[in-house]
């Protein structure tokens, strides 16, 4: 019997279909025809002819994840990660759409670069890739880019990458102009001056370790500024990665007031607190920094309540040479697209959050924010989904992760859930090497 991935029409049967976008959570089947979900629901198998059927044994079937913040090294730092290698890591983690960040060399601030990304992705990547274009030229925070032309070329949103825009007047103009184009402005929120010199969260741990810290107020103050500007311009604004309770409260108030404000959180700030840094472990040096446990819990609550819309991996490949340094000198960043789902599901296993809001934050919500057709399991939607075994523990081995760079926060950590299969456009792009599923004629 031919493998389902070779056939344009195939069926997945007996899966626990969980789709927060449509509110579906039931055992059923999914019929795939030519890369699109043709039908979905219980009892489809009986009505089909001789097509390949994959027995899903009640495992969880969710829409393929949409990761809204992934840094790659293409173009410019391909030794760290290419679109191709990032896509393989994504597929292994159940992520079927990567939204890549503009912090490349050259920066994605011109139509030509957007076109390059789209072409390179089509040619080499095994998952969908869409670029976020730079909001300012060369990410310098001084001049706006060609928002309209970039959007037409395929940019799904606009961001200043890792660098916050310090000039409030420019931010106001950007929000107003982007609003005219219906474009989403995503912003990394950190007051550059307040943050100067700091390398981790300011608190008891930084004092004990003798490391300069950044108080979370540096983040919250920027969120407050941006939210107020979003309110007065009517622009669509998304705080890229909040990390503390105080920032969450600002976002919640803005939403209550009816402003078009949304926010995301890195899975790192959901899974870990600053204690994980231990004894100057540089693989835990990230931006936003790991914060106190109280803030981590607030982030989890924020996902459950819906005040935080999106979970991202904040995948940031860095090579060993820039990480194997004293903490103050080491580069920021951790990879994470491959482990995002497993790490998020640990929260569910620990009883901290229900499955539906957790999955929604990685599927329905990013799709809605970016106007993408995926993130849902419904007839007509692209056949992008992941089959997940909720209870098949595996231990992360950095060397065996699919990213070119191996700077993971989760090395040697055991996760309870694993991705069995990942499908993009109905084609299987990832298969777990240990678990075999049966096909039926």
């Amino acid at each position: 019997m031919a493998e389902p991935q070779a056939s344009p029409v195939h069926l997945l049967s007996g899966a626990r279909i969980l789709c927060p976008a449509t509110g579906r959570d039931e055992i059923g089947d999914v019929l795939v025809e030519n890369g699109v979900i043709a039908d979905i629901g219980p009892g489809l198998e009986r009505r089909q002819g001789a097509i390949p059927v994959l027995r899903c044994d009640g495992h969880l079937l969710i829409p393929g994840l949409i990761d809204m913040q992934v840094f790659t090294g293409e173009p410019g730092s391909e030794h760290r990660e290419t679109l191709a290698t990032a896509s393989r890591a994504a597929a292994a983690g159940g992520v079927t759409t990567i939204i890549c960040m503009p912090d490349t060399i050259p920066v994605i601030d011109d139509v030509a670069i957007v076109n390059f990304i789209e072409r390179a992705a089509r040619a080499t990547a095994i998952v969908n890739i869409h670029p976020i274009a730079a909001a300012t030229k060369r990410l310098e925070g001084k001049e706006m880019t060609e928002i309209a032309l970039l959007k037409e070329a395929g940019a799904v949103a606009f961001s200043n990458g890792k660098t916050s825009i310090a000039d409030a007047r420019l931010m106001r103009l950007l929000l107003a102009y982007a609003k005219d184009q219906g474009a989403l402005v995503i912003h990394a929120t950190e007051d550059r001056d307040l943050a100067r010199g700091g390398v981790m969260n300011e608190g008891n741990v930084s004092t004990r370790l003798g490391l300069p810290g950044v108080h979370s107020a540096a983040e919250t103050i920027m969120v407050e500024r941006d939210v107020r500007l979003a309110g007065l311009t009517g622009g669509r604004y998304h705080a890229a990665t909040i990390s503390c309770r105080a920032s969450l409260e600002v976002i919640a108030r803005a939403k209550a007031a009816g402003h078009a404000v949304t926010c995301g959180v890195s899975v790192n700030n959901l899974a870990l607190s600053e204690e994980a840094i231990g004894s100057y472990r540089t693989y835990f040096k990230v931006k936003p920094p790991l914060r106190a446990e109280e803030d981590r819990r607030a982030m989890v609550t924020g996902i459950a309540s819906g005040h935080i819309d999106v979970i991202v991996s904040n995948h940031d490949p860095q090579d060993v040479d820039v990480k194997r340094l004293p903490f103050e000198e080491a580069a920021y960043g951790a990879i994470g697209v491959e482990t995002m789902l497993a790490a998020a599901l640990e929260l569910h296993h620990r009883g901290e959050i229900a499955l539906a809001p957790l999955i929604a934050a990685m599927t329905a919500n990013p799709a809605r924010l970016l106007g993408l057709p995926g993130g849902r399991l419904a007839p007509g939607a692209p056949a992008d989904f992941a089959l997940v075994h909720l209870d098949a523990p595996w231990t992360v081995d950095a060397k065996r992760l699919h990213s070119k760079s191996k700077n993971t926060l989760f090395d040697e950590q055991t996760f309870r859930s694993r991705v069995l299969r990942t499908f993009v456009g109905g084609v299987c792009v990832y298969k777990d090497p240990e678990f075999h599923l049966a096909y039926a004629a």
């Binding site: 100067r196 608190g203 003798g210 100057y280 340094l325 103050e328």
Partner: protein
């Protein structure tokens, strides 16, 4: 038990000395006993022990230092070690050689002990993970300076007869001071009461978590103090705008006779050096009989002799 017996019997339980954090009361008193024993055997001068004969000691200093480096050099030579000094300037670091690369290069020369000073917290620990020899932290960023705290403790113990129950006031740029951090940990471990006195801009955030009472004024902070430890204003580590001027700093936090009068009458004055006369401490006071600054330097050599012998216990 006599100092000699304590010193003979003490077994230092670790391969390295990376900080005071993690040392027990017994460990600290053991090291102090070893140091105190050296005073008896080293004075009169001219005697040399050969416990480190044939051993190589490398002083690896990424930050400039006069007293600490020469103190370790002297300590090593008094124990008959072969001492090599490596001053790594920032410019050679800029040429791209990292801390780790330097360590790997040195390691290949098979030293027995590396004494390291670096501008980043955690550097000594990082080094200890990459080399096969013993590592002694001579100061890592604003984190710790364990031998300074040990020599300060020995100075206090000899002047006051004890440490437990004393009130120690540390004044100055606490935020950027590894000397303060190590002393706070050590004096707390030995049962003293530790206070810090500094403007809010020179205090680490959440300073109480270190186990100290925090004061922003000298008058209140020095009440009942047995030991007044002044810190150097860390100009090279200071990010600007933390204090408005040296003149105002001396007015509020500089030690002079009047302020010293707020402490106990028999309070001793300490300073890790080098002193900024007229900034942290009035020039005349530095030479006052209540000042033990010179004894600190003397204790520095014997403490470092003790520490070298302590880690040498684990050398092959």
């Amino acid at each position: 038990m006599s100092i000699a017996a304590q010193s003979e019997q003490f077994r230092y339980p670790y391969r390295h000395l990376l900080g005071i954090e993690g040392l027990s009361q017994a460990d600290i008193y053991g090291l102090l006993a070893m140091a105190e024993h050296e005073i008896a055997t080293v004075r009169p001068a001219g005697t040399k022990k050969d416990v480190l004969r044939g051993r190589t000691l490398i002083n690896l200093f990424f930050e400039p230092s006069t007293r600490t480096q020469s103190s370790f050099e002297l300590a090593g030579k008094r124990l008959s070690a072969d001492v090599m000094n490596m001053a790594v300037s920032r410019s050679s670091m800029e040429k791209g050689e990292t801390l780790i690369d330097t360590a790997i290069t040195l390691n290949a020369m098979r030293p027995d002990i590396i004494v390291v000073r670096h501008h980043c917290a955690g550097a000594a620990q990082l080094l200890s993970q990459k080399v096969d020899c013993a590592v002694i932290n001579a100061g890592d960023g604003i984190h710790e300076h364990p031998t300074q705290a040990l020599l300060d403790a020995l100075t206090v113990k000899r002047k006051k007869g004890r440490i437990a129950g004393l009130t120690i006031a540390i004044c100055g740029d606490i935020m950027h001071s590894r000397v303060a951090r190590s002393n706070i940990i050590l004096f707390n471990t030995l049962g003293a009461r530790v206070r810090v006195i500094a403007p809010s801009t020179l205090l680490p955030p959440n300073a109480e978590v270190l186990g100290v009472e925090v004061f922003n004024g000298m008058r209140e902070g020095l009440q009942g103090a047995d030991v007044v430890m002044m810190l150097r204003l860390q100009r090279e580590r200071m990010i600007s705008a933390l204090i408005p001027s040296l003149r105002e700093y001396f007015h509020l936090y500089g030690l002079n006779r009047e302020k010293l009068g707020w402490a106990k009458p028999d309070a001793i004055i300490m300073h890790p050096g080098p002193i900024n006369r007229g900034v942290e401490i009035e020039s005349g006071l530095a030479d006052d009989p209540r000042s033990v600054i010179r004894e600190q330097v003397e204790m520095g050599v014997v403490v470092r002799m003790a520490v070298l012998q302590a880690v040498a216990q684990h050398l092959p």
